[in-house]
Amino acid sequence: MKGLYAIVDTTLLARRGTDPIEYARALIEARPAALQLRAKELPAREILFMLRALGPMCRQAGVPLVANDRADLAALAGCQAVHIGQEDLPYELVHRIAPQLAVGVSTHSLPQLERALAPRPRYVAYGPVFETSTKVNADPVVGVEGLARASAVARAHGTPLVAIGGITLERVPTIAAHADAFAVIGDLYPEGATLRDVSERACAFQVALGVVPRRGAA
C-alpha cells in the first residue's frame, strides 16, 4: 500500500450535492492505493447499496475497496477490506468471522498502535497528524513528530502505516517520508472543484507521494 488513500465521505458530499458514486469514479481515475467509503450517517441498507455499486468499479481498476467501521457490510458487499476504529468490533473478532476481509485499524497513540500491530492487520492508520475539520470529536493531534515515531514502530513490525487527519497536498512534502499511504478527504474536493478537478487533484497527490498514476476510465 503506497500513495493516496482516498476517502469518499458521504457527509461532505451530501453538503455539496455530489453523487458519491460519481465522486468515487473520479477518484479511481488516479488509481489510489485504496478507496474507502465513509458513510457515518447513512443507514446500513444505503451503505451496502453504495459498497455494492463501488465494488465492480474498484475491482476493474485494481483499487482495493475499504468499508469504514462495518465489517458486516464489508463482508456482505464483498469488499477487500474493512477499516475499524477503536470502538468498533475488535480485529480478532472481525478476522474470525470474516477471514476473507483484510483489516485496517485506526490508532491515535503509540500504546494503541502497539496493540493494533500485534495481530498483524493489513495496515494501521495513525493520527490525526494535523487539525481536521471532517471528523467530529477528533482525537488529539499527534503532529509530524508523532507520525515519525509511529512510522518507525510500524516499519519495525513490517505493517504499512496510513497517515490520517488534516492531510493536504501542501503538507505532503513534510510528511511523505513518514507513512506509506495518506488518507485524504477534504483536500481532494476543495470548494468549487469539479469532478475533473477531483481526478486531477488525486493524481497530483499520487505524484507528490512518489506514485506514478496509472490513469484510465474506471
Binding site: 463482508a75 456482505l76 477487500q80 468471522i97 477471514p99 476473507q100 483484510a102
Partner: protein, 267 residues
C-alpha cells in the same frame, strides 16, 4: 436330473450374489469417514480458543470446493502466494485466477424456511442491528430452530428463529440462567424481572454449531421457550453436558425488522 442340477446351480449363484452384496455394503459403511457420530467427534468443540475458532469457520465451509479452503485464509494475497510457492504452474494459475475474482467467502448451505441465515444482517425499526456471525442449529429430523449469535462492540445479542409452526423471531440478550432454573430444570412457569412467563415448548433437540461465536451446548440439548402475556420471551438451553444458556427479549413482528441477506457473499 439335469433340471434339478440347473436349479441347484442357479440357487448357488444367486445366494453368492446376495452374500457378495451384503459384504460390499458392510465394507462401504465401514469405509465412511464417520456418519453422525464420527463427524461430531471431529468437531472442534473440545479444542480451546484459536483452534476452535478456526475449526468453527471451517465447519461452515463446504468441503468439496477449492474456494472453500481458501476462504479460511487471513488474506487473499497471502493465500495466493502460499499456493503458488508450494505447487507448480497449474496451482500458480489457479491462484492468479483467484486473485482476479472478487474476494468472497465460500457459498454456504441455506437453512430452508428460516427468515434469516448465517451472515445476514438484521435491522430493527428501532435501529438496533445484528450481524448473525454464528449460531446453533437445533434439529429433530430436520432443523426446527436456530439460535444465532451476533457480536457487537458494546454488547452481544442473540436471535432465535423458528420456521414452523409459524415464522418466529426472538431478539434476545443473554441472561443468568440461575434466574430461571428451578432445581436445575426448566420450570413450567417462571417470574423474571416482574414478568410472568409460561413455558410454551420443551423440546429435546440436537445442536450443531455454525459460524463463529456460537455457544458450546454439547451434542444434545433441551430447549425451553417461555412467553409472557405480551411480546416478552425467555429461552433456555440445557445441554446434556450440564451447560445452561438463558436469554430474554422480545418476539418481533415481521414488519418490525428487515433482513439484509448475505446471499453467497459472506461467511
Amino acid at each position: 436330473m439335469s433340471l434339478i442340477l440347473a436349479g441347484l446351480v442357479l440357487a448357488g449363484t444367486s445366494g453368492a450374489l446376495v452374500v457378495g452384496r451384503w459384504w460390499a455394503k458392510r465394507r462401504g459403511e465401514a469405509d465412511k469417514p464417520g456418519a453422525d457420530e464420527g463427524g461430531r467427534k471431529d468437531a472442534p468443540a473440545e479444542d480451546p480458543d484459536e483452534a476452535r475458532a478456526r475449526a468453527e469457520v471451517e465447519a461452515e465451509v463446504p468441503r468439496p470446493s477449492d474456494d472453500a479452503s481458501s476462504s479460511n485464509t487471513p488474506a487473499p494475497d497471502a493465500a495466493a502466494s502460499a499456493t503458488a510457492a508450494t505447487a507448480p504452474a497449474t496451482r500458480a494459475a489457479e491462484a492468479a485466477k483467484r486473485r482476479a475474482r472478487p474476494v468472497t467467502a465460500a457459498p454456504r448451505v441455506p437453512l430452508d424456511g428460516f427468515v434469516c441465515q448465517l451472515g445476514d444482517v438484521l435491522i430493527r425499526l428501532t435501529g438496533e442491528e445484528a450481524w448473525l456471525a454464528g449460531g446453533v442449529v437445533l434439529s429433530e429430523e430436520v432443523p426446527v430452530a436456530i439460535l444465532f449469535v451476533a457480536p457487537d462492540a458494546d454488547r452481544d445479542c442473540a436471535v432465535y428463529v423458528r420456521a414452523r409452526p409459524r415464522e418466529t423471531l426472538f431478539w434476545l440478550e443473554p441472561l443468568d440462567p440461575s434466574a430461571i432454573l428451578v432445581g436445575g430444570e426448566p420450570p413450567s412457569s417462571v417470574e423474571h424481572g416482574g414478568v410472568r412467563f409460561d413455558r410454551e415448548r420443551r423440546l429435546p433437540l440436537r445442536p450443531r454449531r455454525i459460524g463463529v461465536g456460537a455457544p458450546d451446548v454439547g451434542d444434545a440439548v433441551v430447549v425451553a421457550e417461555y412467553a409472557s402475556a405480551g411480546a416478552e420471551r425467555l429461552l433456555l438451553l440445557k445441554a446434556n453436558s450440564g451447560v445452561v444458556r438463558a436469554y430474554r427479549g422480545l418476539e418481533l413482528e415481521r414488519s418490525s425488522y428487515e433482513v439484509i441477506a448475505s446471499g453467497d457473499a459472506t461467511l
